[in-house]
Amino acid sequence: TQTVSQSDAHVTVFEGDSVELRCNYSYGGSIYLSWYIQHHGRGLQFLLKYYSGNPVVQGVNGFEAEFSKSDSSFHLRKASVHWSDSAVYFCAVEGTNAYKVIFGKGTHLHVLP
Protein backbone atom coordinates (compact mmCIF):
# COMPACT_ATOMS: atom_id res chain seq x y z
CA THR A 1 0.00 0.00 0.00
CA GLN A 2 1.24 3.45 -0.93
CA THR A 3 0.78 6.15 1.67
CA VAL A 4 2.09 9.66 2.10
CA SER A 5 2.02 11.39 5.47
CA GLN A 6 2.45 15.10 5.98
CA SER A 7 2.39 15.44 9.74
CA ASP A 8 1.82 19.20 9.93
CA ALA A 9 -1.45 20.57 8.59
CA HIS A 10 -0.29 24.16 9.26
CA VAL A 11 3.13 25.75 9.68
CA THR A 12 3.55 29.43 10.53
CA VAL A 13 6.85 31.32 10.23
CA PHE A 14 8.02 34.89 9.78
CA GLU A 15 9.41 36.23 6.55
CA GLY A 16 13.15 35.53 6.39
CA ASP A 17 12.90 32.44 8.60
CA SER A 18 13.96 29.01 7.43
CA VAL A 19 11.30 26.33 7.14
CA GLU A 20 11.08 22.56 6.82
CA LEU A 21 7.89 20.83 5.68
CA ARG A 22 7.82 17.17 6.54
CA CYS A 23 6.86 14.25 4.32
CA ASN A 24 7.06 10.54 5.11
CA TYR A 25 6.00 7.78 2.78
CA SER A 26 5.32 4.08 2.72
CA TYR A 27 5.93 2.16 -0.49
CA GLY A 28 7.27 -1.29 -1.26
CA GLY A 29 9.60 -0.65 -4.18
CA SER A 30 11.64 2.00 -5.94
CA ILE A 31 9.98 5.36 -6.17
CA TYR A 32 9.89 8.89 -7.43
CA LEU A 33 9.03 11.62 -4.92
CA SER A 34 7.77 15.10 -5.72
CA TRP A 35 6.60 18.31 -4.11
CA TYR A 36 3.88 20.55 -5.52
CA ILE A 37 2.63 23.97 -4.44
CA GLN A 38 -0.90 25.33 -4.57
CA HIS A 39 -1.51 29.03 -4.07
CA HIS A 40 -4.99 30.01 -2.93
CA GLY A 41 -7.52 29.54 -5.69
CA ARG A 42 -4.96 28.18 -8.14
CA GLY A 43 -4.00 24.82 -9.58
CA LEU A 44 -1.07 22.73 -8.36
CA GLN A 45 2.38 23.54 -9.70
CA PHE A 46 5.48 21.37 -9.66
CA LEU A 47 8.35 22.32 -7.34
CA LEU A 48 10.86 19.47 -7.55
CA LYS A 49 11.30 15.73 -7.97
CA TYR A 50 13.63 13.06 -6.64
CA TYR A 51 14.38 10.76 -9.50
CA SER A 52 17.67 9.04 -8.59
CA GLY A 53 21.23 9.76 -7.50
CA ASN A 54 21.94 12.78 -5.28
CA PRO A 55 19.39 12.66 -2.44
CA VAL A 56 19.27 16.47 -2.23
CA VAL A 57 17.15 17.90 -4.98
CA GLN A 58 17.08 21.58 -5.89
CA GLY A 59 13.81 23.11 -7.03
CA VAL A 60 12.45 26.46 -8.07
CA ASN A 61 12.46 29.60 -5.91
CA GLY A 62 15.16 28.35 -3.50
CA PHE A 63 13.35 25.21 -2.39
CA GLU A 64 15.20 21.95 -1.88
CA ALA A 65 14.24 18.54 -0.57
CA GLU A 66 16.24 15.62 0.75
CA PHE A 67 15.38 11.98 0.17
CA SER A 68 16.17 9.55 3.00
CA LYS A 69 15.50 5.90 2.29
CA SER A 70 16.30 4.88 5.87
CA ASP A 71 13.76 7.35 7.29
CA SER A 72 11.29 6.99 4.39
CA SER A 73 11.24 10.76 4.19
CA PHE A 74 11.39 13.57 1.66
CA HIS A 75 11.32 16.81 3.63
CA LEU A 76 11.11 20.17 1.86
CA ARG A 77 13.26 23.08 3.03
CA LYS A 78 13.83 26.71 2.29
CA ALA A 79 16.52 28.83 3.95
CA SER A 80 14.69 32.16 3.88
CA VAL A 81 10.96 32.35 3.13
CA HIS A 82 9.11 35.20 1.47
CA TRP A 83 5.48 36.18 2.04
CA SER A 84 4.69 34.89 -1.46
CA ASP A 85 5.65 31.39 -0.30
CA SER A 86 2.39 31.25 1.65
CA ALA A 87 0.52 28.35 0.04
CA VAL A 88 -0.37 24.70 0.48
CA TYR A 89 2.43 22.24 -0.22
CA PHE A 90 1.76 18.66 -1.29
CA CYS A 91 4.16 15.74 -1.24
CA ALA A 92 3.59 12.93 -3.76
CA VAL A 93 4.94 9.41 -4.29
CA GLU A 94 4.79 7.04 -7.24
CA GLY A 95 6.43 3.76 -8.10
CA THR A 96 9.04 3.82 -10.85
CA ASN A 97 7.18 1.04 -12.62
CA ALA A 98 3.71 2.40 -12.00
CA TYR A 99 1.57 5.33 -13.04
CA LYS A 100 -0.43 5.80 -9.84
CA VAL A 101 0.58 9.04 -8.08
CA ILE A 102 -0.49 9.42 -4.46
CA PHE A 103 -0.53 12.74 -2.63
CA GLY A 104 -0.38 13.65 1.03
CA LYS A 105 -3.00 15.82 2.73
CA GLY A 106 -0.92 18.95 2.32
CA THR A 107 0.75 21.44 4.65
CA HIS A 108 -0.48 25.01 4.70
CA LEU A 109 2.50 27.35 5.08
CA HIS A 110 1.70 30.78 6.49
CA VAL A 111 4.45 33.38 6.17
CA LEU A 112 3.95 36.42 8.39
CA PRO A 113 5.51 39.81 7.60
Partner: protein, 115 residues
Protein backbone atom coordinates in the same frame (compact mmCIF):
# COMPACT_ATOMS: atom_id res chain seq x y z
CA UNK B 1 3.86 24.87 -23.72
CA UNK B 2 0.52 23.23 -23.25
CA UNK B 3 -2.58 23.66 -21.22
CA UNK B 4 -5.17 21.58 -19.42
CA UNK B 5 -8.71 22.85 -19.68
CA UNK B 6 -11.40 21.67 -17.32
CA UNK B 7 -15.07 22.35 -17.96
CA UNK B 8 -17.21 23.54 -16.38
CA UNK B 9 -15.41 25.64 -13.77
CA UNK B 10 -18.42 25.49 -11.47
CA UNK B 11 -21.02 22.74 -11.40
CA UNK B 12 -24.19 22.81 -9.31
CA UNK B 13 -26.24 19.67 -9.17
CA UNK B 14 -29.18 18.09 -7.44
CA UNK B 15 -29.06 15.07 -5.16
CA UNK B 16 -29.10 11.85 -7.18
CA UNK B 17 -28.20 13.58 -10.43
CA UNK B 18 -25.58 12.19 -12.82
CA UNK B 19 -22.94 14.85 -13.49
CA UNK B 20 -20.11 14.87 -16.02
CA UNK B 21 -16.85 16.78 -15.79
CA UNK B 22 -14.57 17.19 -18.79
CA UNK B 23 -10.83 17.62 -19.20
CA UNK B 24 -8.81 18.40 -22.33
CA UNK B 25 -5.02 18.56 -22.68
CA UNK B 26 -2.88 19.64 -25.63
CA UNK B 27 0.47 18.36 -24.31
CA UNK B 28 0.01 15.11 -26.24
CA UNK B 29 0.50 13.32 -22.91
CA UNK B 30 -0.32 9.63 -22.61
CA UNK B 31 -1.34 9.57 -18.94
CA UNK B 32 -4.22 11.48 -17.40
CA UNK B 33 -5.62 11.62 -13.86
CA UNK B 34 -8.69 12.69 -11.93
CA UNK B 35 -8.30 13.73 -8.29
CA UNK B 36 -10.81 14.93 -5.75
CA UNK B 37 -9.67 17.67 -3.38
CA UNK B 38 -11.50 18.16 -0.08
CA UNK B 39 -10.42 20.55 2.61
CA UNK B 40 -8.15 18.78 5.08
CA UNK B 41 -8.01 15.58 3.03
CA UNK B 42 -5.59 16.53 0.32
CA UNK B 43 -5.87 15.00 -3.15
CA UNK B 44 -7.41 11.58 -3.54
CA UNK B 45 -7.03 9.65 -6.79
CA UNK B 46 -10.32 8.69 -8.42
CA UNK B 47 -9.31 7.33 -11.83
CA UNK B 48 -6.31 7.41 -14.10
CA UNK B 49 -5.67 6.40 -17.67
CA UNK B 50 -2.36 5.31 -19.17
CA UNK B 51 -3.45 5.67 -22.77
CA UNK B 52 -6.52 6.13 -24.96
CA UNK B 53 -9.34 3.74 -23.95
CA UNK B 54 -7.48 2.64 -20.81
CA UNK B 55 -9.03 3.14 -17.36
CA UNK B 56 -7.50 2.37 -13.96
CA UNK B 57 -9.29 2.74 -10.64
CA UNK B 58 -7.78 4.88 -7.94
CA UNK B 59 -8.48 4.75 -4.22
CA UNK B 60 -11.76 6.69 -4.48
CA UNK B 61 -13.39 5.23 -7.60
CA UNK B 62 -16.66 4.12 -6.02
CA UNK B 63 -19.47 6.39 -7.15
CA UNK B 64 -17.60 7.53 -10.26
CA UNK B 65 -17.16 6.45 -13.87
CA UNK B 66 -14.55 7.67 -16.31
CA UNK B 67 -14.02 7.70 -20.06
CA UNK B 68 -10.92 8.16 -22.24
CA UNK B 69 -12.16 7.98 -25.83
CA UNK B 70 -9.40 10.23 -27.15
CA UNK B 71 -5.81 10.75 -26.08
CA UNK B 72 -6.47 14.43 -25.45
CA UNK B 73 -9.58 14.08 -23.31
CA UNK B 74 -10.58 12.41 -20.07
CA UNK B 75 -14.05 12.76 -18.61
CA UNK B 76 -15.35 11.91 -15.16
CA UNK B 77 -18.95 11.15 -14.24
CA UNK B 78 -20.41 11.40 -10.76
CA UNK B 79 -22.97 8.62 -11.00
CA UNK B 80 -25.27 9.90 -8.24
CA UNK B 81 -24.51 13.22 -6.58
CA UNK B 82 -24.70 13.22 -2.79
CA UNK B 83 -26.67 15.93 -0.97
CA UNK B 84 -24.50 18.75 0.44
CA UNK B 85 -21.45 17.36 -1.34
CA UNK B 86 -18.86 20.01 -2.05
CA UNK B 87 -15.43 19.34 -3.55
CA UNK B 88 -12.97 20.42 -6.20
CA UNK B 89 -12.10 17.94 -8.93
CA UNK B 90 -8.65 18.28 -10.46
CA UNK B 91 -7.54 16.83 -13.76
CA UNK B 92 -3.85 16.25 -14.50
CA UNK B 93 -1.71 14.81 -17.27
CA UNK B 94 1.88 13.69 -17.62
CA UNK B 95 4.29 12.42 -20.23
CA UNK B 96 7.07 9.87 -19.82
CA UNK B 97 7.43 9.38 -16.05
CA UNK B 98 10.92 7.98 -16.47
CA UNK B 99 12.34 11.39 -17.34
CA UNK B 100 13.89 13.15 -14.37
CA UNK B 101 11.84 16.33 -14.50
CA UNK B 102 8.64 14.88 -15.85
CA UNK B 103 5.75 15.87 -13.64
CA UNK B 104 2.00 16.20 -13.45
CA UNK B 105 0.43 19.24 -15.06
CA UNK B 106 -2.85 20.27 -13.45
CA UNK B 107 -5.95 22.04 -14.61
CA UNK B 108 -7.59 24.74 -12.50
CA UNK B 109 -10.34 22.46 -11.28
CA UNK B 110 -14.10 22.05 -11.36
CA UNK B 111 -15.86 23.07 -8.17
CA UNK B 112 -18.88 20.90 -7.45
CA UNK B 113 -21.76 21.84 -5.17
CA UNK B 114 -24.77 19.61 -4.63
CA UNK B 115 -27.99 21.10 -3.34
Amino acid sequence: GGIITQTPKFLIGQEGQKLTLKCQQNFNHDTMYWYRQDSGKGLRLIYYSITENDLQKGDLSEGYDASREKKSSFSLTVTSAQKNEMAVFLCASSGDRGISNERLFFGHGTKLSVL
